[in-house]
């Protein structure tokens, strides 16, 4: 899968997994990883469950210390995939060094120092299944367990070293600067999500030869039976008791049978069944006769996406607009003066008002983020345009489809790229995540003399705009079924909601 230098690792924290194996199978099918890591406490049961679901790829769970060694080594090359590697490597590829626990880091370090363990010299991932950063708010300090050993390991290895810390949240990314013998060793650390903070998640980590790690997280309950609208852990357990273990099984069960489950009414059963069908087929289903957005003269909406420097933005540094009517993409970026939010904003708003004031603007979760942020910046920097902006027709496809429950979509999260991918959209594969683009721009704010790979960031934003058009088309062209009450709020509360959004 993918580019030669990229390794995809799926993290399945033992605590995120209930008793059933189906969610694992479902997750593996969805992500198609090269290997699976099971971080968190030693758990033979979960490790065995995962192994049984993917006999063809390695399951990294060094907590068990198979063969008595506290260190397990793997190597990835595009040709071979991930393999156990206890012999000397050839050049290239990525090395994965997994230790049983923090206490085994000295052993790994000794092996590396003595040359008993060699790496290919490109990039190395060090998996520490339960490592988490401790913090003390009284002294405003943190403690990184195994800090000195990690520094020494970083110093021995030649290529970039990334520590995968089991106990840190998935999505965690920090560049540690550790001192070793008077010099500074830089270690990137990413999280594997075996933490109670923020709920149970699975994470797919895309690791590159340059040492970067991009995390895509999905709530654990989006896999298996609980991915269905209206199915929580209790209903899932009852379904399993009746031999209904997968979403496919639910689809093959009559609605009339589902209704006999305790606490499941006709409406819920119909939605559950319909959702199972949507997930299995990848075909969305619209539950209303109304149109998702109003447009003028049947002209398609402009698909808008913005990029900021974080969730409390100091600048909207990119506005991307895809116009499906002419298949054209327009981008407005601030590539020179990150301390001046007004300039790029003015270029965008004047263009929009001059060229397209009669068009509907469409976003994904714009009511939750893009629109209030744009309004906030207009109010702060260009208040003269506020009224004109408020006069535009702005629509939010996410709100219509998901929050208001007007459609059932096959994605595992409500993030645009997940939904689009599930609907067959082939993305441009920029290798970026929203969090990474924001982080990159923050670095640019910090050091404006450096330059970003603007084309890549432009491509990322374009991708989202075009993906939105893809989803819009999929929804407008979808099957329709008026499942009883399909009005506003029909499915509210059963979708994951805003937590999925990271700008």
């Amino acid at each position: 899968m993918g580019d030669s230098s990229r390794l995809t690792l799926l993290s399945v924290p033992s605590s995120a997994l209930g008793g059933a194996p189906e969610p694992v199978r479902d997750t593996l099918e969805y992500f198609e990883p090269e290997a699976v890591v099971v971080p968190g406490p030693r758990d033979p049961q979960v490790a065995a469950t995962v192994r049984s679901q993917c006999p063809e790829i390695p399951v990294v769970h060094p907590q068990l210390s198979r063969g008595g060694s506290p260190v397990e080594c793997y190597r990835y090359t595009p040709e071979t995939g991930v393999e156990r590697a206890d012999t000397a490597p050839s050049a290239g590829g990525l090395d994965v060094l997994a230790v049983q626990q923090v206490g085994a880091l000295p052993e790994l370090r000794r092996q590396l120092e003595r040359g008993e363990r060699e790496t290919g010299g490109t990039a190395t991932l060090v998996v520490v299944p339960e490592l988490s950063v401790e913090w003390d708010t009284t002294t405003l300090s943190t403690t990184l367990p195994g800090r000195d050993e990690l520094a020494r390991i970083g110093a021995v290895l030649s290529g970039p070293v990334t520590v995968l810390a089991g106990g840190q949240p998935a999505g965690y990314s920090h560049e540690w600067s550790l001192s070793h013998e008077g010099s500074s060793v830089s270690l990137r650390m990413a999280g594997l999500g075996a933490t109670t903070q923020g709920g149970a998640t699975f994470a797919q980590l895309t690791c590159t030869a340059a040492g970067t790690v991009a995390a895509e997280t999905v709530d654990a309950d989006q896999f298996g039976l609980t991915s269905l609208t209206g199915v929580g852990p209790a209903t899932a357990a009852r379904l399993r008791e009746r031999g209904c273990a997968t979403t496919a099984d639910v689809r093959d069960t009559a609605v009339g049978d589902l209704v006999t489950l305790p606490g499941v009414g006709r409406t819920t059963a119909e939605r559950m069944h319909a959702h199972a069908d949507v997930i299995e087929t990848g075909e969305p289903l619209v539950l209303t006769n109304r149109e998702p957005v109003k447009t003028r003269e049947n002209r398609p909406p402009l698909c808008l996406d913005i990029e900021t420097d974080g969730l409390a933005p100091t600048i909207i540094w990119q506005f991307g607009v895809y116009d499906p009517a002419v298949d054209r993409y327009e981008a407005f970026l601030e590539t020179e003066s990150p301390d001046d939010p007004a300039a790029v904003l003015e270029r965008f708003i004047t263009w929009l008002l001059a060229e397209h004031s009669d068009r509907t603007v469409l976003t994904w979760n714009g009511n939750g983020f893009d629109y209030p942020v744009i309004e906030q910046f207009l109010r702060g920097y260009l208040p003269g345009y506020l009224d004109a902006w408020e006069g535009l027709w702005t629509e939010d496809l996410y709100e219509w489809a998901v929050r208001d429950g007007n459609a059932l979509l096959p994605g595992r999260t409500n993030k645009l790229d997940h939904v689009a991918r599930a609907l067959g959209y082939e993305d441009a594969d920029t290798g970026l995540t929203g969090a990474q683009t924001a982080a990159a721009y923050r670095e640019f704010i910090r050091q404006p003399e450096t330059s970003l790979d603007w084309d890549r960031h432009r491509a990322y934003c374009r991708d989202d705009c075009v993906a939105l058009w893809h989803v819009y088309e999929a929804i407008t062209g979808a099957r329709r079924r008026d499942v009883t009450d399909s009005g506003r709020g029909g499915a509210r509360g059963q979708q994951t909601g805003l937590t999925d959004f990271q700008s």
């Binding site: 009284t138 405003l140 949240p169 965690y172 974080g310 969730l311 942020v373 702060g380």
Partner: protein, 895 residues
């Protein structure tokens, strides 16, 4: 003394109260009751047109009190103002009129008071109140004012109870009234408030004296976050703080708002005559209770026994009787009780008093109810309303009604025990006698240190200087939590350095959160929050931890049988409180119904406590023991050879057992039942005293013969040191007990530990930190200290710790460190002059109801000697020729 004896119109003066009270043991000449009569004060006024613009002055129907005039002039001059004057002195009108002026000046209102514009983008005001009840009350007050002035000003409440169109309030209100818990949360979505904040030019903080200790710290940070948000949108507010009289209104206000503040405290409002009755309950009749400690006989120092063991009827028993007496005479009365539990008990006891005095001429059945924040909102509202309309004549309340909620006119207040501070005493007493009418305040004294001090020194109450309110922003835990919120609201960047916090502190905290994974980015490029949603929910104004315990009924409770509503409508409790009051087996009284805790479930994100209704003839009281570990000195100074330290360390608090206490007699029936709870380690601030070796040696020698006088059987202790360590223990209690005389501190916010082996509690070279390794068990901690004692190669210091009873500290220990001499002097006076004349003291001088050692051993004389030496008044000890007599000292410490 009064020469009135008028009981008409529901009023009763002090003398009449004493004369009509139906009892034999208490008479006016028993010496237990003293009445202080405070004369009426005339008003000092200024014509309204001397201050206000003509249009406003013409429609304002009163002259201004002089303090209102001064405050309005200062506001006009662009200053921030703290108005610290008496209850009902018209403080609301200060900001009320300022708001009116601003709206007229900004052109939002036309000179005739109608609206010039629908959308006010020029002058908005935010008014923040300590409680929702007060918020609603003040909305009415402001609306009444603006009606009278003929001004079309939109005053809106926006808080957790607000229903309806919240967006419309944000978009349209001129004045928004809320509380700090709400403001803390609303700051997150400040973009929805952009209109309001961009026009914000006044922030009123009402009853600001109530923000002390933990709440004060949170409020100070919420106000700093609010200012960032206002600044972001272009608002630049002035502040008005209204406060009851406190010792340091300027300093306190300036710390809260982080800007200079002008103090206005010359009160120009009038007051009626006020009788203050200091009511020391009579001695217990024989058999009414057993005395806790009457083993003082046999000592050579023991005075006349008949004098020494005076145990008075507790205030918790006596005050409800007075309360009932007053309400039976149609005197509208508030009874202030120190705890929620006692409000419930007081109502029972008042009813009992009514029943058992059939010949007192009391009327119908009693019309009193309990009122406290543990009752749900609906119940509270209903009782407020019933009192206001006269359906209830009395409310037994906690401090919940101390603030200015309008419950209608009030004639008398009864205080069950001294509330701990003069400020609070006057605030409570000041609730009665609105609009210049005569009023009555009765302090029913308890037998604690402070109460007895106050009733025997009434002048203390009348001194002008009241306690300081302490707000300390140096608590890093609280700061760190608010930093997450700030980063969530607006990215933290270089413009925050030195503004939100000092540069180093801010960078350090950002670094910690970035490494821990809660924020992204650097100050130079903007720091953004990236942790679990809504960091604002980590802020707990009433405590310092994240998760409150939800109270709910146990499964299978037959609500019908108990006459309970399906929804218990009880407020959640903080973890500290949960550990203290809600262990399994605890019996709590709620709204007249007893509940027993059947399950405590703290193993999930929303911890819960399951209650079962029961009918028991006891309630439960929890006992604790404590230890201090890893004390680290940050600063020290020397006083007459004593070394005082301020620093931080870990306090291990173990609510290990509880007693079952009879509802009827207040006496324990079963004691030391285990709670099965583990100790809670608390990292906090502390100060401590090291006694110099020469003083210690001399006093050990002087008191080496003392044993049973300390309240302890010498066979169970180590005699050579007992007399001395009992003095340290007593000095520790006395310094904590008198701290509220100096600071606005709840004594529950402080704790202490006296020890002969101070050094073993320290961090120092060769000592591994203990908190991490032995924090799970009090026994392990004690053993670790014993091992250290055994290994000591030089004589350790003795002394005592005083610590802040909240994670991260509150600033009290620091304030005590700075004012230790004044504190020592108060404590010494109390110990020396207490009327109990018992060597080990009494609840009025040495006893502390929170003592983990059952108030043993204690010795007044050696405590006075220790404090004498500290204050430079000690006899110079003889030359140290007794070296070696000390021997191996025991590892003992007493909390």
């Amino acid at each position: 003394m009064s020469d009135h004896s008028d009981t008409t119109n529901g009023r009763l003066d002090g003398q009449t109260l004493v004369e009509t009270f139906p009892r034999t043991s208490l008479t006016a000449d028993s010496g237990s009751v003293e009445t202080v009569s405070l004369p009426a004060e005339p008003a000092e006024q200024v014509p309204a047109d001397a201050v206000l613009r003509p249009g406003l002055a013409a429609s304002y129907p009163y002259d201004l009190f002089s303090h209102q005039a001064t405050a309005l002039d200062a506001l006009e001059a662009g200053e921030n103002v703290a108005v610290a004057t008496s209850t009902s002195s018209g403080k609301t009108h200060v900001y009320g009129l300022q708001i009116a002026r601003a709206l007229l000046d900004a052109g939002v209102l036309t000179p005739d008071g109608s609206r010039a514009t629908e959308r006010n983008e020029a002058a908005t005001a935010l008014c923040v109140y300590p409680t929702k009840a007060l918020t609603n009350d003040q909305q009415t007050a402001l609306e009444t004012l603006y009606d009278r002035l003929g001004l079309d000003i939109r005053v809106r409440v926006y808080d957790g109870d607000t229903t309806g169109d919240r967006r419309a309030i944000r978009e349209e209100a001129d004045v928004i009234l809320t509380n700090f818990a709400g403001l803390n949360v609303y700051l997150e979505h400040h973009d929805r408030w952009s209109r309001f904040y961009s026009a914000l030019d006044l922030v009123a903080v009402d009853e600001s004296h109530s923000y002390t200790g933990i709440q004060g710290m949170h409020v100070a940070w919420i106000l700093r976050r609010m200012r960032r948000v206002a600044d972001y949108w272009g608002g630049d507010p002035q502040y008005v703080l209204t406060s009851a009289t406190i010792g340091n209104p300027g300093e306190h206000s300036a710390t809260l708002v982080d800007e200079p503040v002008t103090v206005v405290d010359e009160d120009g409002s009038p007051s009626g005559r006020r009788d203050i009755v200091l009511w020391n309950p009579p001695p217990q009749s024989q058999g009414e209770t057993e005395t806790a400690t009457d083993d003082a006989n046999g000592s050579s120092d023991s005075p006349d026994d008949s004098e020494s063991v005076v145990e008075r009827v507790p205030a918790s028993v006596e005050a409800p009787r007075v309360f009932d007496h007053l309400t039976a005479h149609e005197v509208r009365t508030l009874l202030f009780c120190p705890s929620r539990k006692l409000t419930e008990l007081a109502v029972r006891r008042a009813a009992e008093h009514r029943r058992s005095n059939p010949r007192a001429g009391y009327g119908r059945s009693p019309e009193h109810e309990a009122y406290n924040a543990g009752l749900g909102r609906r119940t509270r509202h209903s009782r407020e309303h019933q009192f206001k309309t006269g359906a209830l004549t009395g409310l037994a309340t906690t401090s919940a009604l101390e603030l200015g909620i309008d419950i209608g006119g009030l004639d008398a207040t009864v205080l069950m025990g001294y509330p701990g501070q003069r400020q609070s005493f006057w605030q409570r007493v000041g609730r009665a006698g609105r609009e210049g009418h005569d009023s009555l305040g009765v302090l029913v004294a308890d037998h604690r240190t402070l109460d007895q001090y106050v009733v025997t020194n009434p002048d203390y109450l009348l001194e002008t200087d009241v306690e300081d309110a302490v707000v300390d922003t140096s608590n890093n835990s609280v700061f760190a939590t608010h930093l997450l919120c700030a980063a969530d609201e607006i990215a933290v960047d270089e413009s925050d350095l030195g503004v939100l916090a000092e540069e180093d502190r801010l960078r350090t905290a950002v670094g910690m959160w970035r490494e821990a994974g809660f924020v992204d980015g650097y100050v130079e490029g903007g720091v953004h929050y990236c942790g679990p949603r809504r960091p604002q929910t980590r802020v707990n104004l009433y405590g310092n931890s994240e998760t409150d315990y939800e109270l709910r009924l146990a499964d299978g409770v037959d609500t019908g049988r108990w006459g309970l509503p399906d929804d218990l409508d009880l407020e959640p409790v903080t973890p500290n409180r949960a550990f203290r009051d809600y262990h399994e087996g605890a019996v709590r009284l709620k709204n007249g119904q007893q509940f027993e805790v059947v399950t405590v479930d703290d193993d999930r994100p929303q911890p819960g406590i399951e209650l079962e209704p029961v009918d028991r003839d006891y309630y439960t009281r929890t006992r604790k023991s404590i230890n201090v570990l890893d004390a680290t000195s940050e600063t020290e100074r020397t006083v007459n050879g004593f070394t005082l330290h301020f620093g931080h360390g870990t306090v291990l608090v173990d609510h290990h057992s509880y007693d079952k206490v009879s509802v009827q007699t207040n006496e324990p029936r079963e004691q030391l039942l285990p709670t099965e709870n583990p100790p809670i380690p608390m990292e906090t601030q502390m100060c401590w005293v090291e006694v110099p070796d020469r003083v210690e040696t001399a006093l050990v020698r002087k008191y080496r013969e003392y044993g049973v006088e300390t309240g302890v059987d010498p066979d169970d202790a180590d005699p050579p040191h007992l007399g001395y360590v009992a003095g340290l223990h007593a000095a520790e209690h006395a310094t904590i007990g008198t701290a509220p005389l100096e600071l606005r501190v709840d004594k529950d916010d402080l704790g202490g530990l006296a020890t002969l082996v101070l050094d073993t509690h320290y961090t120092r070279e060769g000592y591994e930190p203990l908190a991490g390794s032995v924090g799970e068990s009090m026994e392990a901690a004690t053993r670790a200290l014993e091992r250290r004692t055994a290994r000591l190669d030089e004589q350790p210091s003795s002394g005592w710790f005083i610590y802040d009873g909240v994670e991260g500290g509150l600033g009290f220990a620091r304030a005590l460190y700075e004012n230790f001499e004044a504190l020592a002097e108060r404590a010494r006076e109390r110990l020396r002059h207490c009327g109990c004349d018992r060597p080990n003291g009494c609840p009025a001088c040495t006893f502390d109801e929170n003592c983990g050692n059952n108030n043993q051993p204690l010795l007044r004389a050696s405590a006075v000697d220790v404090l004498d030496h500290l204050l430079g008044d000690g006899d110079t000890p003889a030359a140290a020729d007794e070296t070696g007599t000390d021997g191996n000292r025991p590892t003992i410490f007493y909390s």
